[in-house]
Symmetry: D3
Subunit: 131 residues, 6 copies
């Protein structure tokens, strides 16, 4: 078991599974502005949340997709990153779309439609890279 | 397959599984104020969303739990109803708590803590009824 | 015409029509905490917005009802005050309810249901006073 | 009267008045991603809300303008569509602008200013098409 | 300097200054529900944020007051805790009230008024304890 | 003392210090759309809030930075203007960044990251102009 690992180490294990280069990218982009940014985010988001037992990683990712959808269109960049993470965690495109569209009930139609637009753009980008 | 059913009928099938008396309760509480309320909600939320294929009901419910958490403390009544629905859909208390607490990353600590408080109250109420 | 009046004076004219005692109540409740509160709110909200030409007062009030609904359940106290103002501006209860319920499309079902609950409570309170 | 029509049929009647091609556009853009999207949106938003009696269509549209304004700048695309719908329902540009600017009181200045920016862009686009 | 301390240790130093019993209270209230809750919150909020150099603790607290105000009335419990923390960090009641009331510009009047109400209740509670 | 000045005059004094050309720019951009816009904003935001005693201008600005951060990425234009105002009020870039990043605790990581992105863009723009 990973219980003897620090939260930061556990977070890095999750990141290795979802998005191996993430901490480096974040470090390069933000650490000059906010010293310690990449480490802090890895520890908190991935070590202190995604690494927790009690809920499987794929469901965690779909919950994140729904939450980012209701939080509104300004979270489109984070939604796109987490669509990639959800696919890496084993979710299908259909499951992702359903987790977005259902949010029309809770966050309203504009939030859900903005979420669908972000998903469509991200799927298109993935397909373009694969082509 | 249920494809020949109307959205309203499909919604009623889902409600029968999650919370059999719900449409009647909503009708009694809101239909005088908003004619057609209970039917409209059943059709839209349950028939047009939860009844869709592509994502299992338990995961849909956990996505709802996360969304209601980031939408803030004013959704506590809806969060409590959906905690019951999540349990009915097969989620464990731990899975529900994890779907709430992870939202500290996306909606901030106050939203997550308010969500935990609502969950604790709902669990306590369930236990009190069971005692 | 009121063009030669200050924004504060125009605001007081609107308040006289919607809720004559409002500035005094606000002054007593908040001016010790925030010096100038009641005057500032009257000038800004009523003098600089509701007093403007170009949209009739009743429609302005119904727009406010919808906005307070999508802003979430934490605005219930303001929603109740503005239900009274809407009635004073000539809106019917039905029009108010419709302005709330329609928000299920834009702000999601929890916001709309919380709005309906606040309206029902306010109508009940008005009826209790009238009885 | 349309009472014997289904919610979907009533919604299509409203869409025919506000934006005749809308269901087709939505179908083409979203139905592959979310099977049933255009029909579901037409039924819920237009059939279950805008088609209701009790509040005239123009006021309903102005309420929507205000709500989309306070929901923040991420709803700019929806605000622009609903500016068109409001004009189709008989609202003037001035009434639309007033319904936006008043929201500075309830949603804060940034939301109101973002709403004004979206309106100005939409008016410019309408004028450019008319030229 | 505290540079060799872990984020958790730095967080505990800040908590010792602002609210010495906080971690224990949080542990008792939430750790059974969310194993590791109190430690995780202390590490993230206080160790990874409030303990950072570059902005003094009093200003950090007033920034938090403003943020909780615009986040809406559902954050009243957190606002009250942070009013206590702001006083402990050296802010005056007037500074706290000003940090709340200014938010009428950015988050709208309802959010600001709900914030003032929470502050008044907290000041009254402090005075009642001191009496 | 400025007590004998009107709110509008006091607002203009603050604007002269933070951003001398602001009222003219706002007037040119919005007064045709919303008659009286620039004067009304100057009176309310700067005269009725920033000009108040009880909290220094620099801290007021940092509170605004934090509030705009938690209000979400749609406030990026306002955040950039207020970064300039904060610098004019004597805040350092580091203080501004800390006021943004701390908001990860209260508004969630997406809001904080969007805020950091806006700040980086604004700093780059300032540096490009200075070059």
């Amino acid at each position: 078991m990973t219980n003897s690992k620090t939260a930061l180490e556990k977070g890095r294990d999750v990141v290795a599974r979802l998005n191996p280069g993430l901490e480096g990218i974040l470090s390069e982009k933000y650490d000059a502005l906010v010293p310690g940014f990449a480490e802090s985010l890895t520890e908190w988001a991935y070590g202190r949340h995604y690494a927790r037992p009690g809920l499987d990683l794929k469901t965690r990712q779909l919950c994140t997709i729904s939450a980012l959808t209701v939080l509104g269109g300004q979270t489109a960049p984070q939604l796109k990153v987490n669509i990639n993470h959800s696919l890496a965690a084993g979710a299908t495109r259909t499951e992702i779309i359903e987790a977005i569209w259902q949010m029309a009930v809770y966050g309203g139609l504009p939030a859900a439609i903005n979420g669908l637009n972000a998903a469509q753009e991200q799927f298109d980008e993935i397909d373009a890279k694969a082509a």
